[in-house]
Symmetry: C2
Subunit: 157 residues, 2 copies
Amino acid sequence: MMDEERQALVAELVKNAIPGWAIAVVRLNKAVADRLGVAESDVQCLHVLDRLGPATPGALAKQVGLTTGSASRMIDRLVAAGCVRRVADPGDRRRVLIEPTPDGIARVSAAYAGLITRTEQSLAPFDDRALETILEFVRSAHRDTAAELHHLPTPTD
Amino acid sequence: MMDEERQALVAELVKNAIPGWAIAVVRLNKAVADRLGVAESDVQCLHVLDRLGPATPGALAKQVGLTTGSASRMIDRLVAAGCVRRVADPGDRRRVLIEPTPDGIARVSAAYAGLITRTEQSLAPFDDRALETILEFVRSAHRDTAAELHHLPTPTD
DNA sequence: ACGCAGTAGCTGCGCGACGCAGCTAATTTA
DNA sequence: TAAATTAGCTGCGTCGCGCAGCTACTGCGT
């Protein structure tokens, strides 16, 4: 059985602190999309490309949570905005690789430069031991969220 | 000057771990909206109501990042879905208070019950000292994100 | 070698969420 | 009391999205 102190800490984290942060993150994502003049999906797509490198439209559709048709239009917009390029796959002539342009990467990272600076400053008071704890936590939170993504999508209810 | 170990930890956090989590959070938010059969803004609205209690349409519009007109339609949808109620403000007859229904609260928290359980399990290995560190970090990250929202918004701001 | 199912991506169409501008009603101010 | 301000709601155009169907290419089986 958990002691009360610990229970209160966990409850505060999962019921208040983390959800509050998550809500702000979603709002910020929308704000960034509005600021860049693109759809939220487009920003998400650029994030995925920035993290995973070139990918096919089909893979991007899965990552972003769109149908392949909508992903095709999304890529059209990003190409028109000069953020990505369509590159033919020589090995399979059906496939197309979507590749972020330097300008696309620069634009999206510029939008987050302020937040990164703020966060670095907020991390300053923590010692190395604490930073390791935080990193471990963030990674586990990422795993949990990703896992939930694969268990939740049951539209057939 | 920071030692290299510390610099690597901070860089990993702000350039990989946190963005990776944030991307998953945005995807999950969209997945939950799809699952509940409502717009992403609607889910965000329910979150805000859950955390802050009854609010006016204007306040909700600000919190969610919509115009008052779009917020009005959003509330129409949530009323139709049985998630919120419009309650007249007796003190100011122009104003309307939006109040979540028990059913609305229940539905949105049910959608996140799995994630909360997962997260509680992931927090089990951390001792009380580590949990305090994590809580402190999450709160500061929340503050940073919220602050960025007010500095980034519209170019006309 | 040939045909046929499977895969990858793109397009016509309708739906719905959004912003904008304008409206009414109620409150506040001069 | 009249004018200005605030709160919320509605017509209309725009645009992102899913769905279904299409073409092009691959690879499997006979």
